[in-house]
């Protein structure tokens, strides 16, 4: 299957007073039609920045794109003019944001904001746009959509607002929906419902989802493929099963070990990743993760050579670790089960 989105060697960053922040450093990946592609990492790992770069949503300056290609259905988004890019945004690639409390405009009704998409991109008139808004609200499971369409955002709860955001983003049937931490600001009980709506709508409008999150629980339930990012670089890329059960990067492993598990009968303590994410202005030498890595072999090669992303397992499972293959042993990959 042909990918709809191809990113090759994307490198970009921001000029700041303290120096150049290398936020995205040589990232390459594909998104295929109909899949949920998840980008995982800590704050500052470059996941949101990557997504915003695809749509040209950074202000330049301070943002600076150093190189790479972003091919959307064969067209390079990085080379596109602002006015062409505007036609892609919302219509072909839509985006929803983390905080539904602040991502809806407080002075317009929900219906007007949802309908605005169709009015801009499909030239619908006011009445048609309203009808579309009601349909979309209905699709995302807002009861009494015909009445609620005239509500203002402050009259909606957090979960309803995020549903409305999804309705808005999906109203032009985009080929790709970028969801940046879509459930982080929601109650746990509401999270599951919103994710369900997201998946359901994805199938109905036949689009793909790029899910950006730091919540591995969400990833496990939703994603088809996963990309783990650390300090602006890819640490690991593979299917959700490969990432969870045949982990090939110490950082992914660390993320997993710091996750509480409901089925953990042995009450093994959670294992946090020691230390802080590195400065993106002066990254550590060699592998950026080596100062926090439990398996690092110092000084060589971990502190001297930067590991490149390479095929480590199967036909598409890639990792950027010098010792990816050695993580195979079950004691390392599943420390808790090993101890049982």
């Amino acid at each position: 299957m042909e990918p709809i989105l191809t990113v090759r060697d994307l490198r970009m960053g921001f000029d700041t007073e303290d120096g150049f922040v290398q936020a995205v450093d040589g990232v390459s990946f594909d998104v295929y039609p109909g899949e949920v592609f998840s980008i995982v990492g800590e704050s500052g790992s470059g996941k949101s920045v990557t997504a915003l770069t695809l749509l040209g949503l950074h202000e330049t300056p301070p943002a600076r794109i150093q190189g790479g290609e972003v091919l959307w259905k064969g067209r390079d988004l990085l080379a596109m003019s602002e006015s062409d890019l505007r036609k892609v945004r919302g219509r072909e690639i839509a985006m929803i944001f983390q905080d539904p409390m602040t991502s809806l405009n407080p002075v317009h009704t929900i219906g007007r904001q949802i309908g605005e998409m169709a009015r801009i991109h499909e030239g619908l008139n006011k009445k048609e746009a309203r009808t579309r808004a009601v349909e979309m609200l209905d699709l995302v499971g807002i009861p009494n959509a015909a009445q609620r369409v005239d509500s203002y955002p402050h009259e909606f709860s957090g979960g309803m607002r995020q549903r409305a955001m999804i309705a808005m983003a999906m109203s032009c049937r985009p080929g790709l929906l970028i969801a940046d931490e879509p459930t982080t600001a929601l109650d746990v009980t509401v999270q599951a419902q919103v994710l369900e709506v997201l998946l359901d709508l994805k199938d109905q409008v036949d689009s793909s989802i790029m899910l950006i999150t730091h919540d591995l629980g969400v990833v496990a339930g939703l994603a088809d493929r996963v990309m783990v990012m650390y300090a602006g670089r890819q640490a690991e890329l593979g299917t959700v099963d490969e990432i969870f059960y045949r982990t090939r990067h110490p950082y992914s492993l660390g993320l997993m070990a710091s996750l509480p598990r409901l089925d953990d009968v042995h009450r093994t303590p959670l294992l946090p990743i020691e230390g802080q994410p590195p400065s993106l202005i002066r990254k550590p030498s060699g592998c950026a993760f080596h100062p926090r890595c439990r398996f690092a072999r110092l000084p060589e090669p971990c502190a001297t050579d930067e590991p490149s992303l390479r095929l480590v397992d199967g036909d598409a499972h890639q990792a950027a670790c010098h010792f990816a293959e050695e993580l195979e042993s079950s004691t390392l990959a599943h420390p808790r089960e090993g101890r049982g």
Binding site: M95, T102, S103, N105, P106, H121, M165
Partner: protein, 308 residues
């Protein structure tokens, strides 16, 4: 809202009913933003007094011909500077013209000047303030330097200078006040937009394909316009005052047009013998400016969500 010990049953009842209405607002009927603003505005007594005054002045100005018995321009040298009487409610001026007619017709001039000067100032201020706030960079720098230059000019002096060049008259006064009045509006709007520009709903609008023009007009301005509305209302009052000042100085409205500032200027020589020549137009200026200030303050409170 908890009724304190001293509250009678009536007060308790009142507080309960407001609680109930707040609740219904939160759960069922969608209420528009402006309905909310009006609800809060109504509670402000001074603002309602101001609004009532403005409505009254507008009605008087519109129906001036119906209300007054005398033509404001008719000279009657035999009955000059008569004190207020049943025949001439506000007395007559130094040329025997009916003061009541002149004050009522003067309201038209003041309202025209206030409204049109404010309209010009608001349009210029909103356009320049939006451009400066939204685009930033050199556009912002250029516009803000222009406002700095304008601010460094003494207001009345600048008005005098411009009028000296292009001549006097009502249109000139409107133009001058409008052209000098947009500075504060542009600055207020720019700083508000700087905050709103960073909000997530603007990011969302951009991410969903809105153009800059649409983002500014549909998403930013409705959120940023509140301080501008307040300022424009207050500016209307100050434009009325400035027109009076310019007319008083002899560079504003010219005789025989009945303008309040001009009437004060002409009457000042008779302060000791015929104080009514100053009192009525002076009181009219005072009432109109005060009305706009009250409404402006009321709007500011009603529009400020933090005071909800």
């Amino acid at each position: 809202m908890t009724p304190s010990a001293g509250d009678g049953p009536a007060a308790q009842h009142a507080s309960m009913s407001t609680d109930a209405s707040d609740l219904s607002m939160a759960t069922s009927e969608p209420t528009s933003f402006w309905a909310d603003v009006w609800r809060r505005f109504k509670r402000n007594r001074l603002a309602m007094v101001g609004l009532g005054l403005i409505v009254l002045i507008v009605l008087l100005a519109v129906f001036a011909e119906v209300i007054t018995k005398y033509n404001p321009g008719t000279i009657d040298p035999i009955h000059k500077r008569e004190s207020p009487s049943l025949k001439h409610w506000f007395g007559t001026d130094q040329l025997g013209r009916d003061m009541f007619s002149r004050v009522i017709f003067g309201a038209r001039v003041s309202l025209r000047v206030g409204i049109f000067a404010t309209a010009i100032a608001t349009v210029i201020g909103v356009v320049l303030g939006s451009l400066a706030g939204y685009y930033g960079g050199w556009i912002d720098g250029l516009i803000m330097r222009i406002t700095d230059i304008f601010l460094a000019f003494p207001y009345i002096l600048a008005a005098l200078a411009i009028i000296a060049v292009i001549g006097t008259g009502e249109r000139t006064v409107i133009l001058v006040l409008g052209l000098l009045g947009w500075l504060a509006i542009a600055r207020v709007l720019r700083s508000t937009i700087l905050q709103i520009k960073e909000t997530e709903y603007i990011d969302a609008a951009r991410a969903l394909g809105c153009s800059d023009f649409r983002i500014i007009t549909r998403h930013i301005l409705p959120n940023a316009i509140q301080p501008v509305i307040v300022y424009a209302t207050l500016f209307t009052g100050s434009a009325v005052l400035s027109e009076a000042a310019l007319s008083f100085l002899g560079v504003g409205i010219q005789d025989p047009t009945p303008a309040w500032g001009l009437m004060v200027a002409r009457g000042k020589n008779f302060l000791s013998v015929s104080p009514h020549l100053l009192f009525f137009p002076g009181a009219a200026i005072f009432l109109m400016v005060m009305a706009f200030v009250f409404v402006g303050d009321g709007l500011r409170d009603a529009l400020d969500p933090r005071l909800k």
